[in-house]
């Protein structure tokens, strides 16, 4: 075997690797972001890029206003989108003036350099952190949304590439950009409505999340999942009825894809966030959650209400002392079992 087996026909993959992210446990700590960045993404050309990011919702996200372009038409055609602007869309990887600041403590007031980005910063990967929406204290709200490539079953990026450099690994359905074939046209960046393909101006190619392919080949979960101290990520194959993915997505139907209406069939799923009750004008608790349903429906589709109700009713069961398979999975008593990775695709040694 010589590594990944290419297929441009998404339906022909042997198996599909997938991830479920439980937003009710996300701390917004960005350990996933840092883990990913440290491992894969420190080159000069992608220093601005975060294959994995965590954004505060509601908010502009990263890159800013990502969901507004690309995707597929109702007929399934890939739509031309836009490449986000480096300054207003992504934000640059600022450098800093440590030395000037260290040297100016004794200078007169007004002449001291203070430590700050070497350029006026207007946007970054986490600019909207903890900003949220609504009015304090009645209905102010926010939640954290970790995002990475969805390794879609019908990836827009794959069809957008005129060089056929983007393919799915037949062994596991991971969407990859062949760095040898890519010519850096950026049609994929335009087409991906999640804006999870990044252009590397130094190497003149696009790069994206690998689902940590080299680790998966060895049966080790992705860095973002394995390094998550909030324990909110589950990893496994879609067709494994004993694994957490099948149970959360197919059986309990509580894990939902992001923007199903884009028509790309993502393989990253989310448990939608519950939230404390809104208060009425007199400050009394109401029966309504703080996060508006319309916002959740805009992200996760119309089944989100049912998923939330399942979560609430299973928690109530537990409160009554009754068993719940769903809650057992989400508690992750034995954390290592959150990852059901087959070793059958391991590279021969």
């Amino acid at each position: 075997m010589s590594g990944s087996e290419k297929t441009n026909e998404p339906d022909t993959v042997d198996r599909q690797l997938a991830m479920v992210i439980d937003l009710n446990k996300c701390l917004g700590c960005q350990t996933c972001t840092v883990a990913c960045k440290k491992l894969w993404n420190r080159d000069a050309g992608t220093d601005y890029a975060y294959w994995n990011n965590v954004e505060t919702q509601p908010g502009k996200g990263y890159p800013a206003l990502w969901p507004e372009t690309g995707g597929r038409s109702g007929a399934g055609e890939v739509k031309r989108g836009e490449v986000p602007d480096l300054d207003s869309g992504y934000g640059r990887a600022w450098d800093f003036n440590h030395r000037a600041a260290f040297e100016s403590a004794a200078k007169p007031a007004g002449e001291k350099a203070w430590l700050q980005p070497n350029e006026e910063a207007h946007w970054g990967a986490n600019w909207d952190e903890d900003r949220g929406a609504g009015h304090y204290p009645e209905d102010n709200h926010y939640f954290y949304l970790p995002r990475l490539c969805n390794h879609c079953t019908h990836p827009a990026c794959l069809n957008a590439c005129p060089r056929h450099a983007i393919y799915k690994d037949k062994r596991n359905g991971i969407v990859l950009v062949d760095q040898d074939s890519c010519h850096g046209y950026r049609f994929c960046v335009e087409a991906c409505p999640y804006k999870k393909v990044y252009f590397d101006p130094m190497r003149q190619v696009t790069t994206k999340c690998l689902f940590c392919l080299p680790r998966i080949e060895e049966g080790v979960p992705m860095a973002c999942a394995r390094q998550c101290p909030g324990r909110l990520r589950f990893v496994g194959y879609r067709d494994d009825p004993e694994g957490p993915i099948w149970k959360l997505v197919e059986k309990w139907k509580v894990a939902l894809p992001l923007h199903p209406e884009y028509g790309l069939a993502p393989n990253v799923f989310y448990l939608p966030p519950l939230s404390p009750p809104k208060l009425d004008a007199a400050g009394r608790p109401t029966a309504e959650p703080r996060i508006p349903m319309y916002h959740l429906e805009s992200l996760f589709g119309e089944t989100v209400g049912a998923a939330l109700e399942t979560l609430r009713s299973e928690r109530r069961k537990r409160r009554r002392g009754e068993p719940s398979e769903l809650m057992d999975i989400l508690i992750a008593y034995d954390w290592h079992k959150s990852f059901a990775l087959s070793s059958e695709h391991e590279v021969s040694r």
């Binding site: 883990a35 420190r42 600022w94 390094q227 324990r231 608790p285």
Partner: protein, 986 residues
Amino acid sequence: MAAMDASAVSSPTRRDFLKLSTAAALVSGGLPLFHFQREASAASLTPGGGRRAQKLGSWEDLYRERWTWDSVVKGSHGWANCRSMCAWDLFVKDGVVVREEQSASYEASEPGVPDFNPRGCQKGACYTEVMYGPSRLTVPMKRLGERGSGKWQRISWDQAIEEIAQKMVLIAEEHGTDTIYQDLGPNFDHGGTTVGRFKFQMKAGGIFADMWAEIGDLNIGASLTLGMAHIGGSSDEWFLSDFPVVWMMNPSVTQISDAHFLFEAQNNGAELTVIDPHYTATAIHADHWLPLQTGSDAALGLAVARHIWASGKLEVDYVREQTDFPLLVRLDTGRFLRGEDMLGETGDDEKRNVTFLWNPDARRPEQAPGSEGADSGKLVVDGFVPPIEGVFEVTLADGSTVSVTTVGSILKEQLDPWTFDQAAAVTDLAPELIEQFADGFAKAQRPMIFSSWGANRFFHSDLMNRVKLLCLAMKGAIGKKGAGYQSTGFMGMAGFGSALQLNRTGMLGQIELMLGTMSASKLFDIVVDLLRGRKSQEEIIFNQVSEGEDALVCATNVSTIGYHHQGIRESLNHEIDGLYPRPLDAYVQEAEEKGWQNNLPRGGQPRIYITGGTNLLRRTNQTQAMLDNMWPKIDLVIAVEKKMTFTVMNADYILPAAGWYEKPGIKYTLAYTPYLHYCGAAVEPVGESKDEWEIFWLLSKSIEEIARRQNTPEFEGCGKQAVDWKRLHQDYSCQGAYGAKDAEKVTQHVIENSPSCQGIEFEDLQKTGIKKFTSAGLNISPTFHFNPDWKGDGVLTTLTHFTKYKWRWPTMTGRQQFYLDHPWFLESGEALPTHKESPKAGGDYPFQLVSCHSRWSIHSTFRDTPLLLRLQRGEPVLYLNEREAQSAGLGDGDWGEIYNDLDTIRMRIKLSTMVRPGVAYYFHAWEPTQFPDHKSYKWLIPGLMKPLHMAGGQRHIHFGINHLQSGSFVQDTRVGIRPWTADTTI
């Protein structure tokens, strides 16, 4: 096929060149910081050996190559002053630590409880960025020009040590050794390097200035109520509560590795309440969020306490046995009915403070077992059931008759006004919301309150915490599995104290230690205890270690030094004018006259300051006063540091300390994760840096040589014990038994002499990085667990010594003591937990300046790390409520001018719907260097001192490291904010 191999990716790129040129500029500019240009690449999870990528001849090899390494070392961030303990794999490639990943090798404590995996946050996941980052220090340097000028001369270690030693001898001869000042706290591990730092200070006769209260971490409310400040079990105990209440804590941000237990508890059926003025990252997951008025927490708690009682949910048997509810109080004086009242002047002096219960059958007071001076130390009352309410007539020893009542009766009367409506008026919460919470709490089986170190930063935090403890005690929750108070407990590490004090190794050293600190009669008692088997040898040695510390250590606290020498006395008096019967100065004077407080150094202000990771100038409130008044009078400032800080910038010498992956250590032993965490050295110290054990080994050696040469006479230290610098190094090195490179051997000594680690083999520990503690320690020091049953299995619950085995609590009454009859507390209306308004510190301005620990830094470490700054806004921000700021003309990202009576500073504004209107909110520990004019919010914070915290003279009301001391409270500060239009170019 286009060639695209791994070397193309790792070749120097634009940013590398930028970094290279920056490094070159630093060297030529006289600041020879040391830089590595290597970018991160590799990694795996099989510790020990290396990993090479398979070359499969396809493009993916580019990425496979990055996940490779030469070796893996088990390490951690032992010196980080954070409340997590995390096991990491450190991946080394070509002699550089390129990456770190959590080991995730913990096991579940018991069936039905989730495991601890994986432990470690985003900061731990990129410590390599600090290690090789732009502020790393790697060569010894000496100041040129004035302090803070940024002009440094690179010097050799020999020159640095020799010059510092000579200056220290001169200064000590003129001013005494107790002018050597270290503020001890951060950069603290339990291993050899911290032993070195502390042992030098102790053997040299310097002062140990505790900063627990100064930084606002000391839970004085708990000390006053339970006799100890640090309460808490393992974090998996959180999972077992059915009613967790996060009340002044933000675990999503400050306990990143533990927070999951809370949210998993919800999945287990628990109802999570978060009480916080702000919609925090923890509150977003709560079942109930109570957005109360800042500083009104006690009022809410009093309404809960009232409701528990009124709704018949008071655990009467528990409060009767474990608390002071049934103790008798004289109605004429407000003081406990004491032995001195009942037994008269002729009575046994030890019984002077014994307290009394009412015996309803005999209709007379009986001595309360467990009370100071009582015949029985156990909380067991034989023969009668003392009432918790009532008024009784008592005849005293002098024949007079007085009316007495119970603490319970007084408390009930004081709680009576705290209806839901009354609490609503103070807290700005709807009465219905308060009632819902109070009722949930009252009906809960296992209520648990999370009140972390950050819960101690208000002037009246002690009152707030006393109220929280009251609510729990009324529910019988303290010392009960899955319930109670979580403020952070520690595992015992007796070997650390032993390593500090020993002058020679082995049993001879232990005996010498005992002889040096005890009287002949005490020695006799010990021999008897040993012979009769009343105490184990370990227990005796541990006792001696504690007593030795008291006898030898010149302990004071940072706030007291600030009060006397920082030039803020007038300001501190002014800020609390009229709040207490007398001015602050009068309390200080009385406390010093009565010996409740000391005033060290004895001869005036500190003359030698050694900073080792504490960053005093970053954190001091009213920094401008420190820089103007105290700092210029310090003759010698020595920075033993791994990275540049604002304090280091203002030092005279820089001695570069080895970083966290460059020396052996033990993460300080919090109870959250009851595992011993070993920090292995993955690589040699970077550049010329050395670990602290070696640095102080060299310094003590040089000082000893000079002292011998000059025949320097003995010093008095702080008056406790003579200090002879002619044998300073002999004592430090245990007569040469420990060499300069023996930090690991000292670390081994600490582990092998700690009963909590019995059975742990040092070599095994080095291989695995973690080992479960085998007990909670000896349960003697009031910082530990008081759980004699825990032997490394199961969830660690605290305080069962008292609730299960009926030991007396370490308070005057031997009970959880809610009533404090100390005259200062009585005269100020704080004898019982109550609510008091937050004073307006810094003047009457519309915003309250409130801080929280940051998710992005461990205090100032990581605060200037580019990788993490890029995930923030690159500079400090002040959070304001979105609507409110806009109406004040402040937009997101605008500059604001923040001002009060003290000063004016500038900060970027960030808008958020999270923040309560009327609050200016910030995440702490930005360096002053990160603000215009190098003026941080610390310039605006008076740092209030509460007079009652200097009280003494009672069993548990006295000064103590880790126990009770005056602090410097920040959360009461008020500021005004206006837009600032600035030229922000550099």
